[in-house]
Point group: C2
Chain length 438, copies 2
């Protein structure tokens, strides 16, 4: 039992474990969400259903000589016409601006569905059109993400630089910053925290949604809440289609409103896409952290069952100062190994040391309780390593020396943020040209 330990091949296990854990997490999230929405909406649906039935009954009572099949036919035709915007109170949907709006909902995958192709040739064309359109828009969103993050990073770096200068930590002359190698290096390596970026993007998204809602609310006769709801549904590319802007025949300042609608949806979608991605990086870190915690706990249990060893793991290369401390404590560990996992005494396990090897803040290594502080700390370390690895090669590589703690990095990042989370990063690391085949 103990021989089939879960920590035999940590990298493989971790990738799969994270994927499965996320699937379970999403399933649970969906189940909880479904229960809450059903609770909110079920009664309202029943009421509305009864209301409609009574309205229909009342009508038939008032006009008893109407043929029921005639009425049903008309009702069906009307429902179809209404959903497709054929009523005279709505604008024609397949004129050029309408078709452009439709095409926009396709390539952005919003898909309101206020306009859908009815002809067979339209449907077939859509299959091919959507394939390249959606792929292009995914790329556009990614490039926007890159631009906005670059811009944010630049601004935040400038602020950081100003702060440092105010505190007198940085050389006062920005022109000859080459002279203070250490300072400028640390400044160059400085990158903004993912939490701050999330905050800024969140604030930007809220600002855009509020401004857009202020535009939609009076023009479309929606309440402010409905406008905000529409903004979220449109920007997140969910696109239910229960509220769709710019569908009436006539608006005041129609061209301006259409342009504003287009711009708000474009910017909003880009911004929310970026926000989703920043949040997903944090979710991934959280999952990794849970798995590491669980694995470590399992390993400890296995070790206790097998034999209590104090030697470090073969793959774990630990920095010098931690190694020395480790050697000093290895004998103590033999005695301490039987302690409860919630001990408060700093008892650095080999795994733990290599895990936190870059942080060098040994306080974080104390305690086995799963705390938010720990999670944030591990997040910091991982992002810092990631950034270092990527910036060494990708961003203007200047014949940098091989990373010092290579092994411990690869051990730590085995799960692979640097190995590629983001869609194209994964592709980048996994695929190659046919150069080797020739």
């Amino acid at each position: 039992m103990a021989a089939a330990c879960c920590c035999c091949s940590p990298r493989l296990n971790e990738d799969n474990a994270r994927f499965i854990l996320l699937a379970f997490f999403i399933t649970g999230y969906m189940l909880i969400g479904a229960a809450i929405f059903a609770e909110f909406e079920y009664d309202k649906e029943q009421e509305d259903r009864e209301e409609y039935d009574s309205a229909l009954a009342l009508f038939r009572q008032r006009y008893p000589d109407i043929n029921i099949s005639d009425l049903n036919q008309l009702l069906e035709a009307h429902a179809d016409a209404s959903s497709r915007g054929l009523l005279t109170s709505k604008r024609p949907r397949w004129d050029f601006p309408g078709a452009f709006y439709f095409v926009g909902t396709v390539v952005s995958t919003i898909g309101f569905g206020m306009t859908t192709p009815q002809t067979d040739e339209g449907k077939i064309f859509l299959l091919f059109y959507g394939l390249f359109g959606c792929a292009s828009t995914i790329l556009f969103f990614n490039l926007f993400l890159e631009r906005i993050i670059t811009c944010l990073a630049y601004c935040m770096k400038k602020c950081h630089e100003r702060d440092l200068r105010r505190k007198g930590l940085l050389n006062q002359q920005p022109s000859n910053s080459r002279s203070s190698e250490g300072d400028s290096d640390s400044l160059e390596a400085w990158k903004p925290s993912v939490y701050w970026v999330m905050l800024y993007l969140g604030v930007a998204a809220i600002a855009i949604a509020c401004s857009a809602a202020a535009m939609y609310s009076p023009v479309e006769n929606w309440t402010y809440l409905e406008s905000i709801y529409f903004c979220f549904i449109a920007f997140s590319t969910i696109g239910f289609g229960d509220y769709v802007a710019s569908q009436n025949v006539k608006y005041q300042n129609q061209p301006f409103y259409r342009f504003g609608n287009f711009i708000f949806i474009l910017i909003g979608a880009c911004c929310i896409y970026s926000l989703f991605n920043v949040i997903s990086i944090i979710i991934k870190q959280f999952l990794t952290w849970i798995i590491r915690k669980t694995l470590k706990y399992c390993c400890r249990c296995c070790k206790k069952k097998q034999q209590p060893k104090g030697r470090p793991r073969r793959n774990a290369i630990t920095p010098g100062h931690l190694k020395r401390r480790l050697q000093m404590q290895s004998k103590a560990n033999h005695a301490d190994n039987s302690r409860s996992p919630t001990t408060d005494v700093p008892a650095p396990e080999p795994d733990r040391l290599s895990f936190d090897s870059d942080d060098s803040d040994s306080r974080r290594m104390s305690g086995e309780m799963i705390s938010m502080r720990d999670f944030l700390a591990s997040n910091k370390v991982s992002l810092a390593i990631m950034q270092k690895q990527l910036s060494e090669t990708a961003n203007h590589a200047r014949a940098a020396p091989p990373p010092r703690h290579t092994h411990s990095h690869s051990h730590y990042n085995g799960g692979g943020l640097a190995g590629g989370v983001g869609a194209l990063a994964i592709l980048n690391s996994k695929l190659a040209g046919e150069a080797n085949k020739q």
Copy 2:
């Protein structure tokens, strides 16, 4: 005029240029698409509009004593009830399975819109629920992409290995492959081509869509084309909602059908997401290639206007054998420089050499015509470099020496596939923890 040359700061220009070029490309694509869809659909819409108007006129002619406002009220109530599934021919939408289906369309951003929250509390809850739900699903799609590409790469590598072994190019004993360092190294570095991966994913997506359509078509009474159309709209997360599966009150084998529907949409969406991302990497390469071509052409024009120089660009480090050839040809170039850009004689420009420096296939350097062959070749090179850079650091770094052609790499990859295209790759390289602040 020539002094403000577009090639002054190639990296910055290229990133922005690609973004702008893509925006123009998508706008053009949308305009063309809108024109085509308007062409396909406009007449049909007019016909249907007239048909509905005449149906309404006929009804009112047949029943002249109906109060017009009564009828309109009923029609509106019916249209609303129909769009929200309140009719007795449809299943209740806010029971638990219905709410689960709804929540699935939210987190996946499909957003069919067959069920939407009607209460204020439902709408407000959706804002927060969707934020984390969509972020988790984006992460799920990315992790799926990682798994599927890993799996594909593994299978393709095995096939490649078998092919090599059949040809006798690889050591026959797989057990002691360590002895043949060169062979096993080249095999280890081997990665599948992005085109083959696109092909396999495309085939998989088509297979899934066809199987799913074969299930939907008889059960939902759709034509096969309608089923395929529904599959594409659902899998690509566009989700118009004009066709939505599993909405009737009763099906044969209802639990199986619901499960099949769920699984098909899940797998299909993951697969199409992966396909979109693979296509978008190729689109990005294509844009980069266009920009490089344009820049090079501009540079040449500038040089012609200024002074015809044969010396290589400062940033371009070229491999030895190409450098020697370059030095030999530099005098010839002086004479050749006034030729038309479409000359067929091999006249390797310095830029061109550094661009293709890793390929070492000098045949590709002949001719200035923008050919598909050239594009494919540059794609190969870029992917190979990318893979090398990433695999050296991210994938189990084994204290690899710094890349040989660092400068020419960074020159080539300045636009930055390795610098991070994919959503999280961008974040990974741009963001960091707060470790440096402390």
